[in-house]
Symmetry: C2
């Protein structure tokens, strides 16, 4: 029997977890615009504008700054698949779930993996990173900027320069920080950084902005493999082992986003509109203002949680400004509190992964939700629930 | 200098090419709904509804019917990456650009490729398919249902049964036909079929519905590899070589869409809303009514083009009902006609790929645009442009 269900009609919920979060209304409206042909001049102009806007968001001059069609994880995999040749040595920092994800992806790519393994929530020092680079001499170094699983941000100042000194290409996942904490691509000299929209950018999940340095692009183009169905005289295959994915072949994706306009996938038009509007909002606000807004909201959240007598997880010095971990008090059923927050106040707060399951909640204040009044509403609701659970 | 550009404001263009096409207004509106937490009960209920809706669209009882986050090509790659083990024998039909794409992806996966190679626009007979299955004994058979590059539909009746007879898993790409021509998953006994929204489903590109038979799912689960950061007692690794992609590991994606709710990517919420609404529209109309509407529009397009004195490309018997190829008349500049159609009438018609570049135009009438008045407008505009070019 057919059942068509009703119109989409989600509850109006305040999403104060580690993401996705509520989307700015201007971004939702931008997705209401109709399609364009893939190579219509207006479409390619929107693609070019989006590249320019994300150069500003990533604080970079990188020509190759565009979108991967898929979730933030698609951006990570596109970067690693294009950078890691089978058997290549890769150095990773693992101190949380998403650092472990880098290892999972690298393993599937057949990499020879070396790791800086730290307790969850710890950060690597420059000295640790240099020692590991010197010891392992990796072809690729990869790390997470802000790992929401531990609410911890890895400092990246100086990391890119070290990688260049040891002749490694560097990759950073900035999914949880782009638009909320500084992601200084050029200043940090990181070769490839990818992100998502659904955290501090205030957009929906499903599009992954990425930026690629010229030296990384040169390497990736050396792995290019052009589809035989669309071969052209002005584009040739590379000299190195080809990339083991078609969808994530960044050389083909760059040819698609370049003036060559070599057909690859069909760009996710509505998500492009969303990504473009997210960037416009961030740049109109001003990146530094936006970072300050996230700091203020994160600080209010941290102080408010401490004011409730709760103990924060992690180190103040390396805490992400946009998501705060807090220990579930002894004797309190963490999942019941989350359910009551949702059912009685229509507020979502986050659970945890791995060794932190059942130990901490994660409270986000990012993008459209990095606002003091939303932090106050969340704290007031949590206070009421905890008091009635006591 | 910062430049934020203006609001998104595409021209109101009638997209009568091979896709993307204009999106039904109800689908655009569905994307305006705000986010939900990934595991909020309302979100998982929407996911379950979407699975049920696409079972109906794919005409299948397959439990495993869900969405891949990415373009239609992401669906193809997810299927092939999960089905093809390194070194496995794969049999493909290649008679157009997208058949060649199957080969490109299989090559990157390290498959041992056998092909039924036909001239572009030809279809394989059951006898040809059986002979190739008997000769090559592939682990996986893959074909395109409707290849828009040639406007040709491969008949699939009986193909799945042949594959089972020779113990091959079967895959079909139905990107260009789902919702416009019958895709009879269960009747055809095809193991895995993937599609997109941007053709006959009347939605935006960026989400790939997929359906998977139990026997294919069993094989895929035997290649499962659970991320160490989220390992759980109730889910274990498989016994066969793991899938060479994390993002496209259908075993993990199925665990995410199942009641196990094992975290994988963050589902592209807005695209899920869009996909759900596309399916609701298709089912409310009735699939058979919808197929008839596409046949009527395609017939009107074909007859109208012939009425203009033009010669159709391809064979009437195997023509897709939703996209029609037509030879560019001698002495006519095909690209100038397309530009004039766009600039003077705001109508897009399609160019071509590979051996057909500069030889044919491709005119679509699909999804929201499979309407007689839109076909008539397109023909009237083309007539006017051709007359003034003469």
């Amino acid at each position: 029997m057919s059942n068509f269900y009703g119109e989409i009609d989600p509850p109006q919920r305040l999403l104060m977890g580690p993401g996705p979060i509520n989307v700015h209304p201007r971004v939702l409206r931008a997705m209401g615009a109709d399609m364009l042909g893939q190579f219509d001049p207006e479409m390619t102009e929107y693609m070019n504008q989006t590249m320019d806007l994300y150069r500003q968001v990533f604080m970079t001059q990188n020509r190759w700054t565009f979108l991967i069609d898929g979730s933030a994880r698609a951006g990570i995999e596109a970067a690693l698949t294009s950078l890691i040749e089978p058997g290549a040595k890769v150095l990773l920092i693992r101190s949380g779930r998403f650092g472990m994800l880098l290892g999972e992806i690298a393993e599937r790519l057949g990499a020879d993996i070396a790791t800086i393994d730290l307790e969850w929530g710890q950060v690597a020092t420059l000295a640790q990173i240099e020692a590991a680079l010197a010891e392992h001499r990796p072809a690729v170094f990869a790390a997470i900027h802000g790992d929401t699983s531990t609410t911890t941000a890895q400092p990246l100042e100086g990391v890119g320069a070290l990688c260049r000194k040891y002749d490694a290409l560097s990759y950073v996942d900035a999914t949880a920080t782009l638009g909320g904490m500084p992601v200084r691509t050029d200043e940090w000299e990181i070769d490839v950084i990818s992100a998502g929209l659904q955290k501090c950018m205030g957009g929906p999940p499903g599009s992954a902005p990425i930026t690629i340095s010229d030296r990384a692009a040169e390497f990736i183009f050396s792995r290019r493999k052009v589809e035989s169905g669309i071969r052209r005289d002005d584009i040739s295959d590379g000299t190195r082992p080809f990339i083991r994915s078609n969808y994530f072949d960044l050389a083909m994706v760059m040819d698609y986003w370049s003036e060559k306009r070599l057909n690859h996938h069909t760009e996710a038009t509505s998500m492009l509109y969303a990504a473009r509007e997210c960037a416009r909002l961030a740049l109109e606000e001003g990146l530094e203002n936006r970072f300050a807004r996230h700091v203020a909201a994160g600080k209010a959240m941290a102080e408010g949680l401490r004011g409730l007598g709760l103990t924060l997880y992690g180190q103040d010095a390396y805490r992400m400004s946009n998501v705060t971990g807090v220990y579930i008090p002894e004797g309190v059923n963490g999942e019941r509190v989350r359910a009551r927050m949702r059912d009685e106040y229509q507020i979502e707060i986050g659970t945890a992964f791995g060794p932190l399951v059942g130990k901490i909640w994660r409270l986000g204040a990012m993008g459209y939700n990095a606002e003091l009044h939303k932090v106050r509403l969340t704290l007031a609701a949590l206070k009421a629930v905890l008091e009635s659970e006591a």
